[in-house]
Symmetry: C2
Subunit: 304 residues, 2 copies
């Protein structure tokens, strides 16, 4: 078999793994979310509309990939972790899209939650999804010590020193100029902290050893920042149709981004350097880190 064919086979095999992971996650989410037939119906409908509405599911995939770096015993808890991080992500999107924040009407190719429902329901759906994330972790089929560690990791990742804090800095930065290090801090908090938590929580759930945890921590930090830089690049390069959300909005809102700060070429180069850093972090890991390596490529080389 020629090298080109081998690469193509590997890509196909990874695409199949992703497809299986996505289908598995959708079923798990459908089961875990409160049913729309149960009161309060409209709130449950809004949560399901937002959480079952597609998306790349990068966070659950990172959880499943990290979960290959430990014992099989903890695998049952990986769904709980995948659900928790995605519920938090979806809650942050719902609140971010509200009129008082980014005021966006399009997300994943569909009307945002406050457009499809109403503002109050959208706010409550976000609030409830944050609570639901902790519910699924609290009920995860794993030892109490692990559950406590998982909830601790998530709580800190979404605190004011993580996701919420990054949102606040983002909000305050509109129309202002940030230094390169301020921009990086904002992104590491706003997007990076939760992406890092996906990798660490997946590894915690399966009891990965200290060496693997340290490697995955370094990997998670690199991939977390790379993800946001690529997002900034795509906001400039891609169309709203391929993104499924409003393209070009950062520039319209005069938001500082990697592209506005470094230019397209340097932003792309930085993302590529972070991809190499992520792969390098996994150098001592074996075949069990295959999916993490492939996800690093996917995250940086994606076009939507």
């Amino acid at each position: 078999m020629r090298a080109g064919n081998a690469a193509a086979v590997e890509i196909d095999e990874f695409a199949a793994w992703m497809a299986r992971g996505l289908a598995h996650f959708e079923r798990a989410a459908d089961t875990a979310l409160p049913p729309a037939t149960r009161a309060p119906q409209r709130l449950h409908e809004a949560m399901r509309y937002a959480a079952l509405g597609g998306g790349k599911r990068v966070r659950p995939l990172l959880v499943y990939a990290a979960g290959e770096c430990g014992a099989r015993a903890g695998e049952a808890a990986l769904d709980s972790v995948a659900l928790a991080v995605e519920f938090v992500h979806v809650y942050s999107l719902i609140h971010d899209d509200l009129p008082c924040m980014d005021d966006d009407v399009l997300r994943r190719g569909r009307p945002t939650v406050h457009v499809a429902f109403d503002e109050a329901t959208a706010m409550l759906a976000g609030d409830a999804l944050q609570a639901e994330a902790f519910c699924v972790l609290a009920d995860a089929p794993v030892a109490a010590e692990t559950r406590a560690a998982l909830m601790r990791e998530l709580a800190h990742a979404v605190s004011t020193f993580g996701m919420c804090g990054g949102q606040a800095i983002d909000l305050a930065s509109v129309g202002r100029s940030l230094s390169a290090s301020e921009l990086e801090t904002m992104h590491r908090m706003k997007t990076g902290a939760l992406l890092l938590a996906c990798v660490k929580m997946g590894a915690l759930a399966v009891g990965a050893d200290a060496v693997a945890l340290a490697a995955l921590d370094r990997y998670g930090r690199a991939v977390g920042l790379a993800f946001q830089i690529v997002d900034d690049v795509l906001d400039v390069e891609a169309s709203s149709t391929s993104l499924g959300k409003t393209a070009g909005k950062d520039a319209l809102r005069d938001k500082p981004t990697y592209v506005s700060m470094l230019g397209l070429a340097a932003a792309n180069a930085r993302a590529e350097a972070l991809r190499k850093e992520a792969l390098d972090a996994l150098a001592q890991q074996g075949e069990e880190a295959l999916r993490l390596r492939q996800l690093a490529d996917f995250i940086v080389l994606r076009n939507c």
Copy 2:
């Protein structure tokens, strides 16, 4: 000493206990909340403005009172529990006051958070306080198993089958008529679930035995519902000045309440019956339940 004097002494002694508890809680909250000097400053300022802005602190007091019904060993964790439940309560107030919900401008005698800051900051402050609640529980100085149990209790209490669900039913009920049982379900979820969690979590933190837990569960349910009925009564009877929030707003918004459904006299009678039910639940408890008994009286007989 005459009976009247004995009662007066007991009330003074309870007032002193409350005052010590409040002062202790304020210090603990001041220490636990992220400092306003640290970025993101405006978000931290808003969280501190809301969480340090006074209030009756019924939830922390219930935690401390329930914490007297177990071993001294767990006492160090009571502050964490008190902070967590109050942070959740404060987050719910901030979001509830937003224009898309109750659109209220006055809370605890001061401008609401979105008035004093802005809507986006208010939403983020609420989001961050929910996360902070889980952070303090995750870091509570108690065994991992207890921490996991505390976070589980809180997560379920604030889920769509608890506080968030109650808010959604409340929202959907404006201008509609509810049956008495629908109204009770709404209140048990919206206010009662978190008040019950205060009592259960306080008892869990100090390792209360199963008999005490069952008694406190029954007590918490009764007190939780009584609290909301008294709130409904005060909304009609009291002034905005004494309440520190807008009085009479339920009627203005055509919201179903215990008063609109049963009338004032029957609502007061129901609150009194629930006070008796709460005291009855504690009949087999000894002196360790003194504060819980006094709080049941305070919650029903308060005038603000």
